[in-house]
């Protein structure tokens, strides 16, 4: 009982810290959240607009094709939860800054918000952004991309429909024609 209530308190403190920082980091943009916003204290780590941006960036990175895309796989909700329950303050700042930078690139490239442009343009924006940040080995973007990808490929639909995952393989077959195995394993490493 005691542990439970102190965990709750810690979580509140964490959320309050997250909100304050996100406000600070995003203060220069239209995605700013005012520190002390009453709705924020118990609410999500991202403002509604930041979350919409996260949804569209995730879906652009992993779109719906013949299988589910990032939104259907719950990636944006997963990342929002990770930012509160897993990420440190600096990670929360980094991730919101990555989202901000993608939005800024959208304005630079097409003079409009990422949210307002059609899917083809979003892909152009994200592709350029991704190429530049990967080439620069930028840690914050790598972390963001990792969140989207683990959010997708380790979701149930990502692991079992898009890729292949056996909880209990039951056998080791060392060298098979790939056509007999099927898609890549969703497991880390092998």
């Amino acid at each position: 009982m005691e542990t439970g209530s102190s965990e709750k308190l810690n979580r509140r403190a964490l959320l309050a810290g997250a909100v304050f920082l996100l406000g600070g980091a995003a203060a220069l943009t239209r995605f700013a959240r005012r520190p002390g916003d009453p709705a924020a204290a118990d609410g999500p780590a991202l403002s509604a607009e930041q979350f919409s941006l996260l949804e569209q960036v995730s879906e652009t990175m992993v779109p719906a094709t013949d299988t589910a895309g990032a939104i259907a796989a719950g990636v944006p909700e997963f990342i929002r939860e990770m930012l509160v329950q897993w990420g440190s303050r600096s990670t929360r700042v980094e991730i919101t800054q990555v989202l901000e930078a993608i939005e800024q690139h959208a304005w630079r490239k097409f003079g409009m918000s990422f949210l307002e442009m059609p899917a083809e343009r979003r892909l152009v924006v994200l592709k350029e952004f991704d190429a530049a940040r990967i080439a620069a080995h930028e840690g914050a973007y790598r972390k963001f991309k990792w969140l989207v990808l683990i959010g997708y490929y380790h979701s149930e639909v990502g692991a079992t429909h898009e890729l292949r995952f056996e909880l209990v393989p039951g056998a080791w077959r060392a060298c098979l024609p790939i056509t007999e195995v099927g898609r890549a394993s969703a497991f880390y490493g092998n």
Partner: protein, 564 residues
């Protein structure tokens, strides 16, 4: 007398000692400082990736605050967090700029739950090494002394592996080997062509490729190729105290297990030349109590075993129990880690594998065995490694997004080969565990101070191994061959710490005799890593098992004849 025998520590060594003592009919008390763990029901091995807390990640702030050291281990994640101590609660000291990573867990079964299960015999090259080149003291035993005990523990534990007929890596009682994959077979063929004195074999591991009746009788089943062993295995597919030695000890009816009890010290009765009591502190209430038995097996693991001895001071042993040689706490060794290479393997794009094999490949030592050490260094190293096709996480280094990314990641990536070395560390008296004069832990016990560095020979071995890893991958036709690690890891990283109460022939220069019995205190046996006189370059756990079983039978024989 409360018990015939007390075993301190329930990891690989303590589990074996308890099993063998119980099977010899001795009423045995097993004392574990950590909490009780229930085999199967306390494991998270059936959680799918999407069911794990934070997809397997431990929250960043928690990791930094509580697990700064433990989280450096590959096996640390949100599904295994319970198997690691909180560094914030269990501090130890190291000199400025001389890190030692002490990786551990306090719970029933200890590190037998999280070990990497690699199991190799020491050879006569290892047992004779100190005598040959003059480092440390001579082992008081040779391969022929331990060989029957290796047979015994391998049969019971269940070791999958392939016989190779090599002098430096004796064969054992193996269950069927797991197969090499296409890239590994290709690598083996090319490497052995180019270097006939080197061998590639499947990693010998304590996973049941084919359980025997003996394993099945303990409730163990075949390895299911999940490769999440470090979470604990509900199938009992790999050897741990909980899957194997503990149930075997329990079925004798002779075992009592006490958990949450930290051994503070051992009382010594000089008139009788015996340990008269084992003093413990209740982890939760901090109340003190003691237990008595005719014989004590100290298997707390290398660093805590030294801690207990050094903290057991008496008029007769002012520097710690069984320490007339002043060797307790000294000669701390690990294996040098952080050498290795990775390369791209061209071809085989139409081939893949099914299942997640819980072992890799092994290249036994060749330096100073089948090839000379170029006069630059003594001893040697071995490589572990694997061939694999990377999965979606390779995209973190790939510029690609959208449907194109998705399509690409649907296929496994191109093959790659990885090699990483483990080099032998020489015993040096200055690599040492001591107790701090005034700083204490939550229970009032002196904090451990660990001062351990690699010496010149270790650095030479590491440099040579690093170079060889790259050269071998290149020779086998790999492209884009590059270093696997940026630098050597601090000692402790291999989690093979050993040597702090070494065996030897001479009581003036060693702590234990040829039966793991303290020279100074006949009813004290020490069979964890601290007994090791040299480190070899092979993973040491199998040797701890064999020496534990061997010592338990020695003690039981002496108890039976009344000599103890």
């Amino acid at each position: 007398m409360d018990y015939d025998a007390i075993v301190i520590g329930s990891g690989i060594s303590g589990g074996w000692a308890a099993k063998e003592l119980c099977e010899r009919g001795l009423r045995t008390l097993l004392i574990e400082r950590g909490r009780r763990v229930t085999h199967k029901s306390d494991y998270q091995d059936f959680a799918a990736p999407w069911e794990l807390d934070h997809r397997g990640q431990v929250p960043e702030d928690e990791k930094r605050r509580d697990y700064a050291i433990q989280s450096t281990c590959y096996a640390f994640n949100s599904a295994t967090k319970q198997w690691w101590v909180k560094d914030s609660e269990h501090p130890y000291l190291t000199p400025e700029g001389r890190d030692f990573l002490w990786l551990r867990g306090y719970h029933l079964g200890g590190r037998s739950l999280t070990w990497a299960r690699q199991t190799y015999r020491f050879s006569d090259i290892d047992f004779g090494a100190n005598r040959k080149d003059g480092h440390g003291v001579d082992w008081p035993i040779r391969y022929s002394d331990v060989s029957p005990w290796y047979d015994r523990v391998e049969s019971f534990a269940g070791i999958s592996g392939n016989s190779e007929g090599l002098e430096q890596l004796p064969d054992g009682r193996f269950l069927k080997p797991m197969e090499l994959n296409c890239a590994e077979l290709d690598f083996k063929r090319k490497l052995e062509d180019r270097h006939p004195s080197r061998r590639v074999t499947i990693g010998r591991c304590a996973n049941l490729s084919e359980p025997t009746a003996e394993h099945i009788a303990l409730g163990r089943g075949p390895c299911q190729l999940r490769n999440v062993c470090e979470r604990g295995c509900g199938y009992g597919g790999y050897f741990s105290t909980l899957s194997a030695t503990l149930p075997a000890a329990e079925r004798t009816g002779n075992l009592t297990v006490v958990t949450d009890a930290i051994v503070e010290s051992l009382d010594y009765d000089h008139a009788k030349r015996r340990i008269s009591a084992v003093r413990v502190i209740d982890t939760h209430t901090k109340q003190r109590r003691s237990y008595q038995a005719r014989v004590v097996f100290l298997c707390a693991s290398t660093i805590p075993t030294a801690q207990v001895l050094l903290n057991s001071k008496s008029d007769f042993f002012p520097n710690g129990l069984a320490n007339s040689s002043d060797q307790v706490g000294r000669n701390l060794m690990d294996h040098v880690h952080g050498m290795g290479a990775i390369g791209h393997v061209p071809g085989f794009l139409d081939r893949y594998y099914y299942g997640r094999r819980p072992t890799g490949i092994y290249i036994p030592r060749y330096a100073n065995v089948t090839e000379d050490g170029r006069g630059e260094y003594t001893r040697g190293w071995a490589f572990q490694g694997k061939g694999e096709r990377p999965n979606w996480d390779r995209a973190l280094d790939m510029a690609s997004v959208g449907a194109e990314l998705k399509a690409e990641l649907r296929e496994p990536g191109p093959w790659q080969m990885v090699l990483f070395g483990f080099a032998e560390m020489l015993p040096r008296p200055d690599n040492r565990v001591t107790l701090h004069a005034s700083k204490t832990d939550t229970w009032g016990l002196p904090l451990v101070h660990i001062d351990c560095t690699f010496g010149e020979n270790e650095l030479k071995l590491a440099a040579a191994a690093d170079q060889d890893a790259k050269a071998m991958l290149t020779a086998a036709g790999c492209t884009n061959v590059r270093a696997l690690f940026p630098r050597l890891s601090p000692p402790g990283t291999s989690v093979h710490e050993m040597g702090t109460a070494r065996m030897g022939l001479d009581p003036r220069t060693s702590v234990l005799n040829r039966h793991n019995q303290a020279h100074d205190v006949p009813n004290l046996y020490i069979t964890d890593g601290s007994c090791m006189t040299s480190s070899s370059c092979v993973n040491p756990s199998l040797t701890y098992m064999a020496l534990s079983a061997r010592a338990a039978h020695h003690a039981a024989d002496l108890l039976a004849t009344g000599e103890l």
